[in-house]
């Protein structure tokens, strides 16, 4: 009866129907299942707290119309119209459903489908005929959509993937969350549905990692990474007339893309090989709750909320464009300059001096391969140079070289410093620190012409060098030589390089 179409709102709604009737495979859904889903939605949507909450999805619909506030019969009548328009005996309109291509049974407007135009508006419609023709099944699926979304910052978070299993799992998880929230609201006698505690981006990544973690555990050590590649797109939306399209704090729609390469990266980091390192970094990225002042006579502040935002998760959504900033901040533990003064932002306290144990070449290597698509040969050259320089710094105890390598931002000076150390090493009868081929592969496009991304290469060498020096115990003994550097978040609109020496 149902199949995925690729349209996010339809597909998430269809997955929600599947979750309501407990069928992951939509092709096995029967008319009886649709009836069961329609019964369920009728029961939920005509009473609080969903009756109130549905304004976010279907303002001015029969579920939310204030005129029907005390008219259960009207709400039930409306539910009958929109939830049971499927079936062979439903009258056809002679048009095709815009979602499924099946015969349409109704023309729908903004009160039925989020973010389309209202009744009678002829813009955007062929022939000046307002509304969208839809089938009964599509109408039911769209009505089910809110229950398969998280309620987040007063909006719906719908998560859609070209992998049907993932779309289903998100809808199923959010459905369970919503049903739990509905039960709590009813138990408390509240007409308001509780919100998800986390922000949309954080909730999205957190839930995704939980789902992927569960899959890894179900695969029991088999080659999970070889699973079906997929991308994911999340839609954080509201259809409410209260939202101001020009208000950047509450836009009607925000779209988050996780491309195939990001999904592959996130699937891999939850595996046994990387989980430990990844979790260490993720746990240091949670928002630091601000201490709330207690007013006189007020009870203890509610502490069950926990942090709402994980900066690592939110920054993941800006990748791969923001990759260098991401590497420096999370893998090289470089503090974010613009976050200074924000006590809730843990990134302003990042410090390589204090957190060298969090630097992981293994994780960086994965990031380079999966997300940044860096040439394998170049990565190997960078790793080898990091090892060689770590060996040099620890055996020669060359603190000056380590510090200069870290802080020089002029390529000419940086190159001279490297060549000076190289010459010193050769004079001592040791092999050179860096070969000509390595120089070309890592730092230069031609003789003394720096690659545009030479600073990125330097950061990568540093990551490997720091990891090795930490393992050798050299960094612990020489903490004072590690400079405290800050980085600007490019995605936040600040300067291009944005580096400064502390």
């Amino acid at each position: 009866m149902l199949k995925y179409t690729g349209h996010p709102l339809f597909d998430v709604g269809a997955a929600t129907i599947g979750a309501i009737v407990g069928k992951r495979d939509l092709s096995t859904i029967t008319v009886e299942d649709l009836e069961q889903a329609a019964d369920f939605l009728t029961e939920q949507y005509t009473v609080d707290p969903l009756k109130t909450f549905l304004v976010v999805a279907f303002p001015n619909s029969g579920f939310t119309n204030p005129a029907y506030a005390k008219r259960l019969d009207k709400r039930l009548e409306y539910a009958q119209q929109v939830l049971r328009a499927y079936g062979r005996d439903a009258p056809r309109l002679g048009m095709k459903c815009v979602f499924t291509g099946e015969p349409a049974v109704a023309v729908v407007f903004r009160q039925h489908v989020p973010l389309i135009t209202g009744e009678d508006i002829i813009n955007f419609h062929p022939g000046g005929n307002p509304g969208l023709p839809v089938s009964g099944e599509a109408l039911l699926c769209i009505q089910a959509l809110p229950l398969g979304c998280a309620k987040c910052s007063g909006r719906l978070l719908a998560v859609h993937s070209d992998n049907p299993d993932l779309t289903y799992e998100f809808a199923e998880k959010f459905l369970r969350m919503n049903m739990s929230a509905i039960s709590m609201a009813r138990a408390a006698g509240s007409t308001k549905m509780p919100e998800a505690k986390a922000r949309a981006g954080t909730l999205l990544i957190d839930t995704l990692l939980q789902l992927e973690q569960a899959r890894v555990e179900q695969s029991r050590g088999s080659d999970y990474e070889g699973g079906q590649p997929c991308s994911l797109t999340a839609y954080h939306l509201t259809n409410s007339g209260q939202s101001n399209p020009l208000d950047p704090r509450n836009p009607p729609l925000q779209i988050y893309h996780l491309p195939l390469e990001m999904m592959s990266f996130l699937r891999t980091v939850v595996g046994a090989e990387y989980r430990h390192e990844w979790n260490d970094i993720a746990s240091r990225a949670w928002e630091i709750p601000k201490p709330r002042k207690r007013k006189k006579g007020e009870a203890e502040p509610d502490e069950d909320g926990g942090p709402r935002r994980n900066f690592l998760y939110e920054d993941l959504l800006k990748l791969p464009d923001n990759a260098r900033y991401f590497l420096r901040t999370y893998f090289l533990r470089t503090a974010v300059r613009w976050a200074r003064g924000d006590e809730s932002d843990p990134r302003c306290t990042y410090s390589l001096r204090e957190e060298a144990d969090l630097v992981s070449w293994k994780l960086t290597d994965l990031f380079l391969r999966k997300v940044m698509n860096v040439d394998r040969h170049r990565v190997e050259q960078i790793r080898a140079l990091g090892d060689r320089l770590a060996d040099y710094v620890s055996t020669q105890n060359d603190k000056g070289f380590f510090r200069n390598f870290f802080t020089l931002n002029n390529y000419g000076y940086f190159r001279a410093e490297l060549l000076k150390a190289d010459a010193n090493e050769v004079r001592r009868g040791q092999p050179p620190l860096i070969t000509f081929d390595q120089f070309i592969a890592i730092f230069e496009e031609g003789d003394e012409i720096a690659r545009p991304d030479w600073k990125l290469a330097r950061d990568l060498v540093l990551i490997r060098m720091v990891e090795q020096l930490h393992h050798r115990g050299w960094l612990a003994k020489n903490r004072e030589v590690v400079p405290e550097i800050t980085v600007e978040a490019a995605a936040e609109g600040a300067g291009s390089e944005g580096e400064e020496q502390a």
């Binding site: 690729g6 389309i116 070209d162 020009l246 009607p252 729609l253 491309p259 195939l260």
Partner: protein, 264 residues
């Protein structure tokens, strides 16, 4: 049989059109109110409309194939007004003139791509003259998104064992072998003979460069050959590879599903 034909062909002549503009926007279907996000690259239906605009008529889409390379400098949001209008009746105030429309101005945010550049390949070299003298104003995206053709040539694509791909739309089935990009549902064709009935298809939008060596290899895919543009910039010894799309043909009927041919 069609695949066999494609496998035998060693070259093919195509029309190559370079079009540049100041702004463009390719809105998502079904998101009409309050905000209009844009796809990162033009949907096939937009390309079909563009071709028809140049030719000055609705051409039969069957058999027409296209590939493209699309870039832009930056994405920005702009504030626009939509005049949301509805049918009306009565008289215009103070007159005896009939009022047929009424409505209100609604502000919304539209995502706009600044500095767009399209390199379009069409398997119809005979349309070169039409693109040199386009029938209607050259636009891509909205009606105000004026474009200029900066180069129109006929090029001979060749088969090559290696290619690089970037800033393009890949077929969904092949796109998943890339492990790069985002799967999207795009309008593929609007049937004007049938009330602008929309047809949709899934694709993978690929913005970053990848090489043919990075394609995940299914069984029996050794010896894959790719259509490349020999006049494109050379990167590590490879030329730009092209994914050809059809507007209406079913995937199995396409002569070259993605510019890629597996040995028969």
């Amino acid at each position: 049989m069609a695949r066999l034909k494609a496998a035998v062909a060693l070259s093919r002549k195509v029309l190559k059109v370079v079009a540049e503009g100041i702004t463009t926007s390719f809105r998502y279907p079904h998101f009409m109110h309050g905000v209009q996000p844009t796809f990162d690259m033009p949907p096939p239906a937009t390309i079909y409309g563009h071709i028809c605009s140049a030719l000055g008529k609705w051409v039969d889409p069957a058999g027409v194939e296209f590939a493209y390379h699309f870039t832009y400098v930056r994405r920005v949001d702009e504030v626009e007004h939509t005049h949301m209008v509805a049918a009306s009746s009565g008289k215009l105030p103070g007159t005896q003139l009939p009022k047929v429309l009424e409505g209100a101005v609604n502000p919304f945010k539209r995502a706009v791509l600044f500095g767009p550049r399209l390199v379009l390949y069409i398997n119809r070299p005979e349309w070169e003259g039409s693109f040199r003298s386009p029938r209607y104003a050259v636009v891509l995206g909205r009606s105000q998104d004026l474009f200029t053709y900066t180069a129109i040539t006929v090029v001979e694509l060749v088969r090559a064992p290696r290619a690089y791909f970037e800033h393009t739309l890949a077929p969904y089935d092949l796109g998943r072998r890339i492990a790069r990009g985002v799967a999207v549902l795009m309008p593929r064709f609007l049937d004007y003979s049938s009330g602008r009935t929309p047809h949709f298809e899934r694709y993978v939008m690929v913005t970053r460069r990848f090489t043919s060596e990075e394609l995940l290899q299914p069984e029996g895919s050794q010896g894959e050959m790719f259509w490349v543009d020999p006049t494109s910039p050379e990167v590590d010894g490879a030329h730009l590879g092209l994914f050809f799309h059809s507007f209406v043909d079913a995937p199995e009927e396409r002569t070259s599903p993605a510019g890629v041919t597996l040995p028969d």
